[in-house]
């Protein structure tokens, strides 16, 4: 018995069957691709949340608003103390700079501010707080202390909002995971039923193979190859669809993406997503075929 001859036979039979009855295979590929598009979109959404949290986390700033008559030496002392306590760089922002930023951020509406004679914005100190200094309520304690200084009018930091965002992100991810598990289970059932439909049309072939002495492994191999090929093609199609969708969102809804502070781009590790979809597609195809062909092997 030649292993090479058998391998050639398996591949030839698998591809031959795909050519002979393309319709059932297209249906199988479509159902697999649908599942993989769902997976891709779920991964993409989760990636956006991660990127959003990371980008916001990187921008946590500790801002101290100074009174108009704040003594320069005291402010310098405070600057030194903040650097020492947080390990981050302290940047002093003038009222003019602050107004400039505000005008820029407001866009067209900001033009109304340009004509103002008196700038109501105070001097402030901005500290870019490194991640290490944000933990364990350190910022809260620091904010409390700084607020007590006579020449300070207020302290603002994004930690609260960030903590809430991280919590929302965790909750969304958990909900996504549960939803994905349900969709995945449903998909496996649909894929397996579709493949069973494809195999049902060839039950006669399986029966004859068994009657002339074909082992279960021999009968199953071409179907497994078909399942793997279907999974791979479905992965390619779904990757293309998800990629195209991301590019479309970037080009036509770039503002929305920019609003999420992701630099106008959908954040994704494309090679990784492609590999995951390929692995999942081939795995699903193999599993679906294995389960589907099993019930026809009893001859």
């Amino acid at each position: 018995m030649s292993t090479r001859a058998k391998s050639v036979y398996f591949v030839r039979t698998a591809l031959g069957s795909m050519v002979r009855s393309p319709f059932v295979h297209v249906i199988a590929i479509a159902s697999l691709a649908l599942a993989l598009v769902g997976y891709g979109l779920a991964r993409l959404a989760s990636g956006q949340l991660d990127a959003l949290v990371a980008s916001l986390g990187g921008q946590v700033e500790f801002t101290v608003y100074l009174a108009p008559d704040a003594p320069e030496d005291k402010v310098k002392e405070l600057e030194a103390a903040l650097t020492q306590r947080t390990g981050g760089a302290v940047h002093r922002v003038s009222p003019a700079q602050a107004l400039g930023r505000l005008v820029e951020e407001l866009g067209d509406q900001g033009k109304a501010l340009e004509g103002m004679n008196d700038n109501p914005l105070p001097w402030s100190l901005e500290v870019a707080v490194p991640a290490a200094a944000r933990e364990g309520g350190q910022l809260e304690a620091l904010a409390e202390k700084v607020r007590g200084l006579s020449f300070v009018t207020g302290v603002d930091y994004g930690q609260e909002a960030l903590a809430r965002l991280a919590m929302i992100s965790r909750a969304l991810k958990l909900a996504g995971l549960v939803a994905f598990a349900l969709v995945f289970l449903t998909t496996v059932i649909i894929v397996s039923a579709t493949l069973q439909l494809a195999i049902f049309s060839r039950r006669e072939e399986i029966e004859i193979q068994k009657l002339v002495g074909g082992t279960d492994r021999f009968v199953r191999m071409p179907f497994l190859i078909e399942g793997a090929v279907q999974g791979a093609v479905a992965a390619l199609v779904s990757f293309g669809l998800v990629f195209a969708l991301a590019r479309y969102v970037e080009s036509s809804h770039g503002d929305a993406v920019a609003f999420l502070r992701l630099g106008g781009q959908v954040a994704a590790d494309w090679p990784r997503l492609g590999a995951e979809q390929l692995g999942l597609g081939v795995g699903l195809g193999l599993l679906g075929s294995f389960v589907a062909v099993r019930r026809f092997l009893k001859v």
């Binding site: 001859a5 036979y9 004859i208 068994k210 009657l211 002339v212 002495g213 082992t215 001859v299």
Partner: protein, 232 residues
């Protein structure tokens, strides 16, 4: 070659299909298996090619007890047994040659050899010129010859045929029977299930008669012919 000892086959809730059957078929023997519909002929053949397992008793094929053989060994045992079905069981999506080559594909025979051997076998049954057409384009007799070629291409020790001439006119019946006799003359044990009395009378081979799952007669030559003539 085929021995059965006290073989009983029954399905839950139904009376036994075969009851306490004993028989012994020698190597290179030609045997008719006859009896009315529902007598158990097809079930007996199914037991021989392991499509069914006996409820009780022992079945020895070439000295090996197949009644208790493991499921994973079944395909290997089947490779020594060619089977011809009344409904031919040919694949309409494959050519005639591909249908014949099916048996060799299972064995891992290289593609070119499969083609060569299939054509050789088709020549033997007189259908080489139809090698590349679909079985759907063949007559009933031709389809049965393709089915026979598929069963024989692997040169099995045993050939089982379930009503091989059941759907054929008298001329085609003779054609198929001559092929079976030819195969038998080359040393293959042949078991043919049929309820065609004229066939048994004409060929005068050993005849086993089943009735209600029991072996009621085992006659050879002219006696078998007379037995069938009386029945008819």
């Amino acid at each position: 070659m085929i021995q059965m000892f006290h073989v009983t086959k029954s399905y839950p809730g139904d009376p036994p299909v075969l009851t306490d059957l004993n028989l012994d078929i020698d190597k290179a023997e030609f045997v008719f298996l006859t009896g009315p519909s529902g007598a158990g002929k097809s079930t007996l053949l199914k037991l021989m090619f392991l499509a069914e397992r006996p409820t009780r008793g022992q079945i020895l094929i070439a000295g090996r007890n197949i009644a208790r053989v493991r499921e994973s060994s079944v395909p290997y045992l089947r490779r020594n047994i060619g089977v011809v079905f009344q409904d031919f069981k040919l694949l309409p999506t494959r050519t005639v040659a591909e249908n014949v080559g099916f048996t060799l594909d299972v064995l891992g025979v290289p593609r070119d050899d499969v083609r060569d051997k299939s054509l050789k076998m088709l020549r033997r049954v007189g259908l080489e010129h139809k090698a590349d057409v679909s079985p759907l384009k063949l007559s009933g007799g031709e389809q049965q010859r393709v089915s026979l070629a598929r069963a024989l291409v692997n040169d099995p020790a045993i050939l089982l045929a379930d009503e091989p001439t059941g759907n054929l006119d008298p001329a085609l019946t003779v054609e198929i029977m001559n092929l079976l006799c030819d195969v038998n003359a080359r040393g293959t044990t042949v078991v043919v299930a049929t309820h065609d009395a004229s066939l048994i009378a004409r060929y005068q081979k050993r005849t086993l008669r089943l009735e209600k799952g029991s072996l009621v007669a085992d006659e050879k030559g002219a006696k078998a012919a007379r037995l069938m003539a009386l029945e008819a």
